[in-house]
């Protein structure tokens, strides 16, 4: 909780990083880290609104580079959707919509 109000970190692909990068869609309960990229790539999933719009919606909800994220809960069926702590809010989303949110996992 102490870094909830931490400023955004300057992490981008060019900076050599220690740790593991993983899409938010693949994380399990308890996994936490910093968002390093929110893309607009198609992953074979059709989003009724198109990937660009999905990206904007994710950004609007606060899934931005530098935001801290932690998976809090998973649904009962196929561990989907997920509830995450995103900085100081709680947000629910489906894994299929979280594929383009890349998280730099904290090293334990």
């Amino acid at each position: 909780m102490n870094d909830v109000f931490a400023p955004p970190r300057d992490v981008d692909a060019a900076t050599p990083v220690m740790g593991v990068l993983a899409p938010l869609s693949s994380l399990s309960v308890g996994d936490r880290g910093v968002i390093v990229d929110v893309g607009a790539e198609a992953h074979g999933n059709e989003h009724g609104v198109g990937v660009e719009e999905l990206q904007r919606r994710l950004l609007e909800f606060g899934f931005v580079e530098g935001a801290r994220v932690e998976v809090l809960h998973e649904g009962a069926i196929r561990r989907d959707p997920i509830a995450v702590r995103l900085d100081d809010m709680r947000v629910a989303l489906r894994r299929r919509d979280a594929q383009d949110v890349v998280v730099l996992l904290d090293t334990p």
């Binding site: 109000f5 400023p7 607009a40 059709e46 904007r56 919606r57 009962a76 709680r90």
Partner: protein
């Protein structure tokens, strides 16, 4: 110029969902509220009035909650257009009041930055300030006000704190505030949104110190309520309680209302001579009004549950828990609440589909909502079950009648899931909407706001439903009354009326599903509202005394119908669109006659098919 006669200053409340905007609206305007729809759309328009200390009249518009002016749903479009002063039939607001949850400022800061670009005079109301203080959250109000360039008032809407100060600030701005020369707002792209977030982050860091005692309650409660197993167990427990409430607690009040209207009818009957006027007043007007009001207790109980759960913050959790289960049938997690409401009545259910952003998801939900067993089907089910299903216990002390009732509910639910799956798989393939939803912090519901919102729902139900059902009841009365039977006619009067002719005309069509002409005649008035079919059957079988339980009628039906016919009638009622009000509401909510027509056709088809299968099988088996 005297302030008292000036046109009221227009104030619009804007803010994120769950910011306590409606509570603030209630605190500002008290009971001086009016609810209607915006012109041309079905978004609810809530307006209230107040007078400032200086005597200036102010009209307050409570706009739908939004995270961004980049609107995604009809509700959010109204907010955007109202803020920009582009909403048809709506004057632009003189002052914006941006309502923010003081404990959750990040997203609203981005909205404030967007609102600033619009260039209207604005006040920021930091609501739920007591919670922020309790958490030890420190906000540099002066610095923040300077940074944002707009005055800030701290409020606790549920305790009416800060309201006078807010009104005073609005009063100031209404007399001095200037509209910027040009509104600079345009829909932001990804880069702009990122930039706004960085700005918001910078502002947060500079003027807000994180809470010393952050809310741990929500996390603890979520550990139970969002648990994959316990969460679902609790959800279904709550649903069970809700049904118990709707069906058992409402009964005494409903009986009372029915008795009151029967008594009123009797009283009018004694005072008036036999004739057209008497029939019109008793069978048309009084029973028409009664048929609307009898649902009021159920609607009140249902909305009490929904509003309490909503205000507590549970509804978002319910949508989370149900998303995958509903998603299996091609429905959105948010469709859960509208479909749940439809168990009381499809009308509030269809009205509640507004929470679904996406048009296709919303249409699917609207189309299947009437398949949920609404309370109007209960009298019909009860009548047929008591006439045809033996009252005995099967295993484990379960009553057979209860099991059949349960089966009818289950048939409706399964039907809705199958239909939505078909719509998704065949008509709207692929396109699955994103599901992104804030899970707000849990809050204790404020009794006054809950009561006010329940009463508001009740009022909306009476006026809107009444406006449709009442004229329909009159129309049905006309159809079943004219023309009069010839002198010396032997059969019941309805047999000679338009309704009777219609019933006789369609009877051959319904013969394969085992319906006799008495039933088809009863279906005509039954189209006004499902439960009217009970009274109509009473009329065609010329039974004077048909109480709510229909005990006499059930016996008569059992003598006249085969078991197969009875079961077929039940199957018909699970699916048939026997409710003109629902069709009317769908017409209004979709703003087109296409969808009500689609609904009418597919539901009738489904009902016919189900009744046909049930009748054929049951009669082969010797029913």
């Amino acid at each position: 110029m005297s302030e008292a006669v000036a046109a009221p200053a227009r104030v619009a409340l804007v803010g994120n969902p769950n910011s306590g905007k409606t509570a603030l609206f209630n605190a500002l305007t008290g009971s001086r509220q009016k609810v209607a729809n915006y012109a041309g759309v079905t978004v609810e328009r809530k307006e209230g009035h107040l007078t400032t200390a200086s005597g200036r009249p102010i009209s307050v518009l409570d706009l739908p909650g939004t995270y961004s002016l980049r609107a995604r749903s009809p509700d959010e479009m109204v907010t955007r257009d109202a803020v920009l002063g582009q909403l048809a039939g709506e004057a632009s607001p003189d002052v914006l009041v941006c309502v923010a949850d003081a404990t959750n400022l990040r997203l609203v800061l981005r909205l404030i930055l967007e609102l600033k670009a619009v260039g209207r005079p604005m006040v920021l109301a930091l609501n739920m300030y007591d919670i922020a203080q309790r958490q030890g959250l420190r906000i540099d109000l002066e610095g923040l006000a300077r940074e944002l360039g707009c005055p800030i008032v701290t409020t606790v809407a549920t305790r009416k704190r800060g309201i006078a100060e807010l009104v005073a600030k609005v009063d100031d701005l209404a007399s001095t505030g200037q509209l910027a020369d040009q509104a600079a707002w345009s829909a932001p792209d990804a880069a702009k949104i990122r930039h706004a977030h960085r700005e918001a982050q910078r502002i947060l860091k500079a003027y807000v110190r994180p809470p010393e005692r952050p809310d741990t309650f929500t996390g603890k409660v979520d550990a139970v309520l969002l648990h994959p197993v316990w969460g679902l167990v609790i959800l279904f427990g709550l649903l069970f309680l809700m049904f118990q409430g709707v069906f058992t607690w409402a009964t005494p009040a409903q009986d009372l209302i029915e008795q009151a209207f029967t008594a009123l009818g009797g009283l009018v009957g004694q005072m008036l001579p036999n004739g057209l006027l008497k029939s019109f007043l008793i069978d048309g007007v009084i029973s028409g009004v009664g048929s609307v009001l009898v649902f009021l207790p159920q609607i009140l109980i249902l909305f009490s549950f929904i509003i309490l759960l909503e205000d507590f913050g549970y509804m978002a959790r319910a949508a989370f828990l149900m998303d995958r289960i509903m998603g299996g049938a091609g429905l959105h997690g948010r469709a859960f609440i509208p479909l749940l409401s439809s168990f009381a009545c499809a009308i509030p259910g269809i009205m509640a589909t507004r929470v679904i952003d996406n048009k296709r998801d919303r249409l699917t939900t609207i189309l299947v909502a009437p398949l949920m067993t609404c309370s109007a089907r209960i009298p019909v089910y009860t009548l047929i079950i008591s006439g045809f299903i033996p009252d005995r216990k099967v295993w484990a002390g379960l009553s057979l009648q209860g099991l059949v009732m349960f089966g009818l509910y289950a048939a409706g639910i399964v039907g809705a899931l199958v239909v939505s799956l078909v719509i998704r798989k065949i008509f709207w393939r692929g396109a699955v909407e994103p599901f992104l939803m804030e899970l707000p912090a849990y809050k204790t519901p404020d009794p006054e706001n809950v009561a006010r919102n329940i009463l508001l729902r009740a009022k909306i139900f009476i006026t809107r439903a009444g406006r449709i059902i009442f004229p329909l009841m009159i129309a049905v009365w006309v159809l079943s009354t004219f023309p009069h039977p010839p002198a010396g006619a032997a059969g019941p009067a309805i047999d000679y009326s338009f309704a009777g002719m219609l019933g006789h005309a369609v009877q051959p069509l319904l013969a394969p599903i085992g319906f006799n002409w008495q039933m088809t005649v009863a279906l005509v008035p039954g189209f006004a509202a499902r439960e009217v079919a009970v009274a109509a059957l009473g009329t065609v079988y010329a039974i004077a005394d048909t109480g709510a339980d229909g005990a006499t009628l059930a016996t008569t039906l059992a003598q006249h119908w085969s078991l197969a016919t009875g079961l077929s009638f039940l199957a018909w009622y699970v699916f048939a669109p026997q409710c003109a009000s629902t069709i009317g509401v769908v017409r209004r909510e979709t703003n087109s006659w296409l969808w009500p027509a689609v609904m009418l056709i597919y539901m009738t088809g489904l009902a016919y098919l189900a009744a046909f299968v049930v009748y054929q099988i049951a009669s082969r088996l010797g029913g």
